[in-house]
Amino acid sequence: MDPGLLAQYVMNGLMVGMTYALVAVGFTLFFGVLDIIQFSHGDVLTVGAFAALLTFVGLRSAGGGAGAILLLAMIIVAIFAMAALGMLIARYLVLPLRTAPALNTLLITLMLGTVLRESVRLFYPQGANPKPFPALLPSNSLSLGNFNLRLDNVIMLTAGALVIAGVEFLLNRTKLGLAIRAVAQDEETARTMGINFVAIVLIAFAIGSGLAAFAGIMNGLYYNEINFGMGLYLGIIGFAAAIIGGLGSIYGAILGGFLFAALQTIGTVALPFASAYKDVFAFAVVIIFMAWRPTGLIQEKISERV
């Protein structure tokens, strides 16, 4: 294959994989602290992207400012708003159901996802139509044969990698991270050690949901288009990525995200059938993976003792 073309596929795969990885890290965090699946996570991403767009529209009609400042404002507003939404979900929907069967949490978050999605569709002006997302990053590009290297893609990849590295640092090198890991490992022991369980859960949800908002903005900047249904699909893929990686492991989630993007690219490029089947192929491979390694590629270090 032409090297320029190959480089383009790798770049496309990396961009998509970064989004999947950011979503998957959220799933894995929630599962880590509470052993639950937060199925409205993908729709939190949608709301985050729309919050950023709303900030942009608001600031621009108020006079605006330079692109970089606008973008920074959008990122800050969206991340903090979604962190708050994540904490509200944890406090009022997930934590009260701690003692109920896990199925209830699953159902309630699934329903919340529909509520969020439909609310965007109904309450955002003409929310059923795809919305243009402003291109705020420099769009310089370098053409190397068939490879179109865009500066904005490089910036986004770097920013995504930095965010993930930041989360990793927070979890493994800070006291807060230690507390989160302690809660993930054993809730009761963590409590007896004086860790405020509720606060840690809320913080974990804030971090995960903030990551979703960041992924939503990245998605918007990458495609220059957002729509009310984008989170559903990204949520399912992020969840699948977290599962192949091994729920509860942050490295597993990242690996799973990029692996899924690679599978989709291979499904489109290398296989003889119509590219519409790329998701069929990718999810079929996920099923085979799960049969082969039910606990994921990287297992949670401590398995639960009953």
């Binding site: 073309l5 003409q126 139509n129 795809p130 068939n146 495609y223 220059n224 989709q264 490029v269 590219s275």
Partner: protein, 388 residues
């Protein structure tokens, strides 16, 4: 004696009357109309109903017409099950000679068997699905408006005339997208154009970079897209991200304001095609609008009103010529060739499909869908990408 006299007097009286007021002696003939008068697309149904009513009124006002026509109107609600009921009701009423029927493809395709079974000649005035005329070969079923097939023929003709030769085809894998892919490929086969790659995609797919990277390597002049607005917006936006300079050539599925709002300036230069035409672009559009406005209907004729008018006018012409007899009207409609109407010439092929269909070409210019012939692209003032 009195008994014997009576019929004679009546005949005499009738003759006398006939001499004084010929209009009163006209035989009454019933014709039908079916369309969606309630529900989401009722605006189109009401516009069609009014237009058909206009055709009947104008004919009744014409002193040369042999019959006095009465219009029977039924509502199919754009629902196939309701449509079959009302179609059966209309077809079973033997004194309804012919009818202009259906705006929705789903109702039109559901009822063709009914018309065939009861032998009621119909002229479809708005539904675009090719199968309505082409799935069977029912002599009863005709259609004045064009189909997806005509749309793609016009499309292939225009783009090859502009000098484009290589095409990549992207279609969504629904019946709508698949149909467009098939008819476009067939239409392009008759031109010097060549398809270099075909890609089926999901109807709610988000990322098209993998498909588009492959297309980039194939370097086509044109990317043809058979599908609807949401993914059309995404594909067009991602083409730009990958630096693909090809012309984006769509179908009726993207002719919407949402497409332009979703893309902003990137929408510029996108081509698309749609069955029918704005009334003012039709040959008899001016005449039709004048007469329509004079009747002071509550609703505008909408996009297919003129087609409904033409369908009913054709039916009335046939009845005038061969008399109020379903069988004879069917035979007469089979011979419609090069007939003048307000929508242009009408010629039915052996499936009853009008082959001289009206298809409007559109191009996005300055954030609006502009009829191709009126655009600065057609006049040469602006150029589409890679225009040779």
């Amino acid at each position: 004696m009195i008994r014997a006299l009576k019929p004679a007097t009546i005949i005499l009286a009738a003759i006398a009357c006939g001499m004084v007021a010929p209009a009163a002696a006209k035989e009454k003939v019933k014709v039908g109309f079916i369309g969606p008068l309630t529900g989401g697309v009722s605006a189109n149904g009401l516009g069609g109903r009014n237009s058909v009513d206009l055709a009947v009124r104008l004919r009744n006002a014409d002193p040369k017409s042999k019959y006095e026509y009465e219009l029977v109107v039924l509502d199919d609600e754009c629902k196939p099950n309701i449509a079959v009921q009302v179609a059966t009701k209309m077809a079973a009423e033997r004194d309804i000679i012919a009818a202009a029927t259906h705006y929705c493809s789903s109702t039109a395709i559901a009822t063709v068997d009914v018309y065939h079974k009861f032998g009621l000649p119909v002229v479809v005035w708005g539904a675009v699905l090719p199968d309505i005329t082409y799935r069977n070969k029912y002599p009863e079923v005709h259609r004045v408006n064009g189909t997806m097939i005509n749309q793609n023929e016009t499309n292939a003709e225009l783009v090859t005339k502009l000098g484009y030769r290589s095409f990549a085809v992207i279609y969504d894998t629904t019946d709508y997208g698949k149909g467009h892919k098939e008819y476009f490929s067939a239409a392009l086969a008759k031109t010097p154009g060549k398809i270099v790659g075909t890609f089926g995609v999901g109807a709610d797919q988000q990322d098209f970079t993998a498909e588009l990277t492959q297309i980039k390597a194939l370097n086509p002049d044109v990317i043809y897209f058979g599908g609807l607005t949401p993914i059309g917006v995404r594909i067009r936006a991602q083409m730009d991200k990958l630096g693909i300079k090809a012309v984006f050539d769509g179908t009726s599925g993207i002719v919407s304001d949402a497409y332009i709002q979703g893309l902003g300036p990137l929408a510029e230069g996108t081509l698309a095609f749609r069955e029918g035409a704005p009334v003012e672009k039709l040959p008899g559009g001016k005449f039709f609008m004048e007469k329509y406005t004079a009747q002071k209907y509550d609703n505008p004729p909408e996009a297919y009103g003129a087609f409904a008018y033409a369908a009913m006018d054709l039916i009335l012409d046939s009845i005038e010529k061969v008399g109020p007899d379903r069988r004879k009207v069917i035979d007469e409609l089979a011979n419609v060739k090069n007939r003048d109407s307000i929508i242009g010439k009408i010629t039915f092929d052996d499936h009853g499909q009008n082959t001289v269909s009206v298809i409007t070409k559109y191009v996005v210019q300055d954030g609006k869908w502009v009829v191709w012939e009126d655009s600065e692209y057609a006049s040469g003032k602006r150029k589409l990408p890679q225009h040779k």
